[in-house]
Each structure stands twice: as structure tokens, then as C-alpha cells.
């Protein structure tokens, strides 16, 4: 499958765009953002709270296999229009990043396909760069861990 998800990050800007087309009616795409059990499945996180309404709030928590919490994030929902848009903040806990503002737009393409456009706005250009690099840095760690595993097996 080719790259269905596109990231548009222009230099020297505070925002970035993530776009993706789905083989799903827009109602189902939107539902995946509203039902806590479903969000938990595809985000791979525990949904502590998800109040899908204007001025509602949300809270996610991810643990490692030993039960230690490795990731916590929360935010508030500023706008909520079913099958059209969600405006919300996103803030990671215990990490020195400012909250970010997210505009999620849901569009119907055909009865069976839809499109999501996610605009994320960061406090600074440095903050955006740091966020973009997180999975990259994580990849480096994975490489380290893999090396360590291999070395341990050799012992």
C-alpha cells in the first residue's frame, strides 16, 4: 500500500497538516474519535476520560507491559460538531512541552470514503521540530534496545 497518510510541514511555520483518506463513511471515521473503547484500540492507549462535547475534557494514559505509566496526555475540547469537526488541545504530562491546538476536520468524499485533515499548531518552531523528531528519537532507542537484546542473547 502506498503512503495514504501525508504530512505537510513547511519550514518556519508553527503548524503542520496531517491528511488521510479512509475507506470508511464519514460517520464511522468520526465514531472512531468519539467512542472511548474504539479510541483506546487504535491509539493503543487507555482512555481515562473522553467527554466528546463542547467544553468537555479528555485524558489518556499508556502503560508498559509491567504496568508502569509511560505516557500521559490530556486536553479540553473546544468545539465538537458530529461528522464535521473537533477542536481540542493536547498536552503531554511530565514533559516540558507546551500544549498544542488541534483542528480536526472530517469530510465525506463518497458514501463509502472520507477524509480527515488534522492541523496542529505549536507554541514555537522549536516545539514543532521536537514533536516531529519524537518518533525518530524513539526509533533510535529501538535500535539501541534491539542491539542490547541481541548482545544479551549472545551471552
Amino acid at each position: 500500500m502506498e503512503n495514504k497518510t501525508k504530512i505537510h510541514a513547511e519550514d518556519n511555520r508553527l503548524d503542520l497538516l496531517i491528511t488521510r483518506e479512509f475507506d470508511l463513511p464519514v460517520e464511522l471515521l468520526f465514531k472512531a474519535y468519539v467512542e472511548p473503547e474504539i479510541v483506546a484500540q487504535w491509539m493503543g492507549t487507555k482512555v481515562i476520560k473522553l467527554e466528546s462535547k463542547k467544553h468537555g475534557s479528555w485524558e489518556f494514559e499508556t502503560s508498559d507491559p509491567n504496568g508502569n505509566v509511560v505516557f500521559k496526555a490530556n486536553g479540553v475540547i473546544h468545539d465538537f460538531i458530529p461528522n464535521e469537526k473537533i477542536v481540542r488541545t493536547f498536552e503531554m504530562e511530565n514533559i516540558n512541552f507546551a500544549p498544542q491546538l488541534e483542528f480536526l476536520e472530517f469530510e465525506s468524499i463518497t458514501d463509502e470514503t472520507s477524509k480527515l485533515t488534522m492541523q496542529i499548531i505549536y507554541k514555537s518552531i522549536e516545539h514543532r521540530a521536537a514533536q516531529l523528531k519524537l518518533p525518530f528519537a524513539f526509533g533510535l532507542n529501538m535500535a539501541h534496545n534491539r542491539l542490547q537484546e541481541i548482545v544479551t542473547q549472545l551471552k
Binding site: 497518510t5 479512509f22 470508511l24 484500540q41 519524537l134 518518533p135 525518530f136 534491539r146
Partner: protein, 105 residues
């Protein structure tokens, strides 16, 4: 056991990053590279080997000497640090799509 090497693994090590920045300036022999480090020549030659396996270094033979130089094409893969970020979202959305297809009638 065969170890698959990738560029990310290669640059996860500070000595290898230092080697890359040295040869980025000019082509160097293994001996000249090793002179810049306190580690043994053997250790440095192991690092060079890993970098070569990842195709970050190319070598040319000049008489009896081997010269290492940077492979800029491979370095671009590293430069494209946005790719893991895109991949992370792509994986999530693929999962979302697969889950929601079960709700289709």
C-alpha cells in the same frame, strides 16, 4: 544470526556519529580516522565496518590505501526525520480503518 543493519542503528552510537562528521569533510584512511579517537584501532575499524554495511560510507582503493567517504544519498534518509512521524500516524490510521470496517453493514 544475521543482524539487519539500518541507518538509524548506525547513528545511534556517538563514536559512529563522530566518524561520519570526520569523513563528511574529507575522505580518510582507517588509520587517519582512528587517530582522532582514544579507542583502539580495532574498535574504530568495527565502527567503520558497521557504517559501511549501512552504506553510509563508501570506500575507494588508492594504491594500497583504502579511503572512506560519506555516501550523501544514504545520509538523506537520516535527514528525512519526518518519515518515522508519518509512519506512526499511518500505522494508527490503518488500525482505525481496520477496526471501523467491522462496524460496516
Amino acid at each position: 544470526m544475521e543482524i539487519r543493519r539500518d541507518v538509524f542503528q548506525a547513528i545511534a552510537d556517538p563514536t559512529r556519529r563522530a566518524i561520519l562528521s570526520l569523513v563528511a569533510i574529507q575522505s580518510m584512511t582507517p588509520g587517519a580516522i582512528a587517530e582522532n579517537f582514544n579507542s583502539s584501532r580495532q574498535t574504530i575499524s568495527k565502527h567503520i565496518q558497521i557504517l559501511s554495511e549501512c552504506e553510509l560510507l563508501n570506500q575507494t582503493q588508492n594504491g594500497r590505501e583504502i579511503y572512506y567517504h560519506l555516501n550523501p544519498i544514504k545520509m538523506k534518509e537520516i535527514d528525512n526525520f519526518i518519515e518515522p512521524f508519518r509512519k506512526m500516524w499511518d500505522d494508527r490510521f490503518n488500525k482505525l480503518e481496520a477496526i471501523m470496517k467491522n462496524y460496516k453493514k
